[in-house]
Amino acid sequence: MNEELIIAGFGGQGVLSMGKILAYSGIMEDKEVTWFPSYGPEMRGGTANVTVIVSDERISSPILHEFDTAIILNQQSLDKFEKAVKPGGTLLYDPNGIVNPPTRKDINIYKVEGTKTAVEMGNPKVFNMIVFGSYLKVKPILKIDNVEKGLEKSLPERYHKLIPLNLEAIKKGQEIVDAVNVV
């Protein structure tokens, strides 16, 4: 198993932390992982992205230009990364704020109403975990037990009381995936 993933959106959407939880969950499942963020002026411009690789093998390049999966949370990131998904790969996106939805026919495309669902759940902050749940549904690369352990590892202890809420969000995310295009 070798999953090369990019998560991209606005700063504050929990892009980097979603990547971190995924990476930690990978470690819990004894995988090799890398987490490489955009940093500096890119982030100050409002967009944030992180490349995460989860693999059974030693990871060569941590910096990638094409991806198995892209999780896209805003229009700028969609414009930039839709073309970077490998043919036959997967793109998940939240339609909130998306004016021009993805159009490629050679990749799997899934729509996730993450923002809307988070509001319905009464907690906009769990948005990233809803999307993460959808990702795990589409790409079940990790066991949910290990995701729970990953959450424990990556969240400071004072936030551990929020783990059940996060798990609930992940579960919700698994339920609301909408397949737009499947190859």
């Binding site: 992982v33 890398t34 987490w35 490489f36 940093y39 390049s61 941590p62």
Partner: protein
Amino acid sequence: MGDLRLMKGNEVLAEAAIRCGCDGYFGYPITPQSEVMEMLMFREPWNETGMKVLQAESEVAAINMLYGAAATGKKVLTSSSSPGISLMAEGISYIAGAELPCLVINVQRGGPGLGTIQPSQADYSQAVKGGGHGDYKMIVLAPSSVQEMNDFVDLAFELAFKYRNPAMILTDGAIGQMMEKVELSDYKKRWTDEEVIEKWGSWATTGKPSSRERNVITSLELDSEKMEANNQRFQKKYRQMEAEEQRYETFQIEDAEYVLVAFGTSARVCQKSVEIAREKGLKVGLLRPISLFPFPKNIIGELAPKVKGFLSVEMNAGQMVEDIKLAVHEAGCTRRVEFFGRMGGIIPTPGEVVDALEQNFLKE
């Protein structure tokens, strides 16, 4: 078995410094390495191991604090990024001239000038050829993973004390900012003055006992005859480093017709390039220099007669390629040595490297 964590390269540098029994850190913040000092301040090692951490008023102050502390036989380090290292270059020259051990970490960014804050390897020549004035060398180690960011801190100090010479970890913004799985080292106790004397000799200014002459730490010697003798001693030391400390790693080199040579982040990229090239049926391997000074020229000399050519892949305009050419020449060979690189903070893609290889060697 140490402690298994997911951490940024920069954070690991800080953690490794605490755990290897470091006595002090002096530094000044600069992107992309500010997490080193942030982590040290967060960890408050002065409560745990007694290690001191101080944010100086400038890089020039930091390197001179390092000079002073190193003169007393303490295990001390600083870290910065490219423009900050240039500011430290004078101090590094003094430390080399005074023959003191210390660790300087350069988490490189793109230059010249203030440049960019994205990853670069454009300080290769500055690190291995000198950087400051005078005929001096640093031991330069180039990690290519977060794990090696941990491992090389201790190694760099061992080498620095063994040779009484400044050592540098030359890394870049990619490895500094990246998180990977890392097994942290076990804690080592900080050395006492007595332990330093026992292990490394009594050169440090730890207080003069009646049993020996006073120790004088200086790089100044106005008598040219004596200064030349000092230089001869330094050169002998550098030749010994070249004889004993060449470090490297190879990847799929056994049957390789073409060898990519790359260090640090570009070596990680090239590992992927080797995978891509092999899928295309090209016999390509990778040589990754770990010590940049001393440059691993012996292995290049060994490989040269067996291969058709070398491609140096760097995140600069072509600096290490000169050392590869020298090594091939010294081995009495005439193999082609070509270069591919990106500059200004751009990391080459694995595919670009394969294209460059084909362009240089396979399309006559």
